[in-house]
Symmetry: C2
Subunit: 153 residues, 2 copies
């Protein structure tokens, strides 16, 4: 085995997993965007807030930022916009007056009720095109990599 200068090693971007992963994630996002964007006029941060708050839980901006891994300013602005559109409401917490409890309004729950089944159907359609072994390996790999990169929850 001869020693080669490092410049001999090349990289095919189309075969480079980090790039492919980024491209796939973008593609899946766009594939999903038709549901919440074109139909309900929500952008990604808003959709994530809606999905996190959920139909009955009350939660804080902090916890939303943690579970969505979005920057707190992004969360703050998404909530502000959702509030003006009357999809969520904010109430000062009684126990800690810095916090504000966020919950869906009635209109918000209606949107959520329409949105979630569509989103889940999109996800299902995506996963259905995989073979059982692919699906199993894929989900396992997802979990392993999440742990490796400390992304869980």
């Amino acid at each position: 085995m001869t020693v080669r200068p490092p410049s001999e090693q090349t990289l095919e971007l189309a075969a480079f997993v980090p790039f492919r992963l980024n491209r796939l994630a973008t593609g899946v996002s766009e594939h999903l965007a038709v549901v919440y964007q074109r139909r309900f006029g929500l952008d990604i941060p808003q959709w994530r807030v809606m999905a996190t708050v959920g139909p009955q839980q009350a939660c804080t901006a902090q916890s939303i930022a943690a579970s969505t891994r979005m920057h707190k300013t992004r969360v703050s602005r998404a909530i502000a916009e959702l509030e003006t559109r009357q999809l969520v409401e904010r109430a000062s917490s009684t126990e800690d007056r810095r916090e504000r409890e966020i919950r869906l309004t009635k209109a918000g729950r209606r949107v959520y009720g329409e949105l979630v089944p569509l989103a889940l159907a999109r996800e299902a359609a995506l996963l259905e095109c995989l073979s059982p072994e692919q699906l199993c390996g894929f989900l396992g790999a997802l979990e392993t990599l999440e742990r490796y990169l400390h992304l869980e929850n």
Copy 2:
């Protein structure tokens, strides 16, 4: 089986594959960023251009945009910056004077030669934490989903 109102269906974001995929792609990107960003001061578009142009090929901004799936303005600006940093050079094509042939400079090839092995090592480290079945299913799923979403090439 009783009919339930749609609002009964809920969505756990942490278990929702499109979200997890986005989160994973971001995590992998950040994990890789230390190589090209902290060490060479390149941002993602610049790194992708470097990787696409490669050590000997000459290519056009157009072809870079196509294979990286970046917007042509993003490519244009990345190339402009790389040119001022003397990592790539542009020459007007003789056969079609609208195009400009882009190639790495000597300094660019040196950076490329350092960068690529590090990037490939990061990718390898990532994939090595997967079991053989996971790796196989994962790569298969990647390919299947790319075809499903028409992301190839």
